[in-house]
Amino acid sequence: MLSPQEQLRFSRQTMLKSIGEDGQQALKNAKVIIVGLGGLGNPASLYLNAAGIGTLYLVDGDTIDVSNLPRQVLFNDAQVSQGKADIAAEILNQQNSETNIEVLDEMLDEELADYYFPLVDVVLDCTDNITTRYLINQKCLEHKKPLVIGAATGFDGQYMFVEPNIADSACYQCLFPINKNAPENNCQTLGILGPVLAIVGGLQALQAMKFLTGNKVATNQLSIFDGFNNSWQQLSIKKQQHCPACGND
């Protein structure tokens, strides 16, 4: 049951038929883990926190660098060298003090995933390296947790939703099978513009909210954003029966 203050605060969300008070209550009851509090995790956490998600787990062992500031818009000069997850929690608490925020100021590993993923309703992959992306994918499959994947470099972004509770949902490894040469290019090596991250991180937050409020979120689809030419492309993908991560054999 929403309090009168909550009814007022979230009125522009609850007036949406596809959200309503039931949806807002679902957001309040929800637990979301955001892995990576960089360029994607910043906007995604801001929007989820503002929207009234009950519990946010923020995972990042990195510290703020001055070169992060143009795109990681939660942070400022005075916070350089401090922990990203800690500072993000402080700022988010100022934005919406009702959210229960838990800081995990270390890089995600198997042990952390095995402990925290079972506690949450949805996982956001906002990381910047493929090794962790494969680990998150694997752990979401093992723990049957929906996974909202975002990625961006340069002017380009990718987004995908994996729902292990749907039998034919393709996983990240169905799309990008592990191979000998893992891509190593990220924002540090290829460059990035902040608004590209805002678009992809915002999309991740939107899809998480839709999922948590019982609305349909498409699986088996890779969305590809080209911010230079202002275009989106959708690639329909299929679960791979021989996928080492999620396949049936």
């Binding site: 906002c126 961006a152 470099t153 040469n181 891509p183 290019n185």
Partner: protein
């Protein structure tokens, strides 16, 4: 037989022998590129890695190789 890989024309020599996606990749891409993680679309439709060897190409087919973006 001519096909296209990421928009570039690639001539596959012997068109009397059915050529699979796997064979075309071996011919057209250096080994270090084939050893990267990538997704592949044939004429706009996703083809999983397990189907590269049994998907036969025809003239003017277009293969797009899509690399994962990993930054965030």
């Amino acid at each position: 037989m001519k096909i296209y890989i990421n928009g570039d024309a690639v001539e596959l020599a012997d068109c009397s022998v059915p050529t699979s996606i796997q064979a075309a990749l071996v011919k057209a891409l250096p080994e270090n590129q084939r050893q990267q993680s990538f997704a592949l679309a044939l004429n706009g439709d996703f083809v999983g890695k397990g189907d590269y060897a049994n998907t036969v190409l025809k003239s003017d087919d277009s293969i797009d190789i899509l690399l994962p973006i990993v930054g965030g």
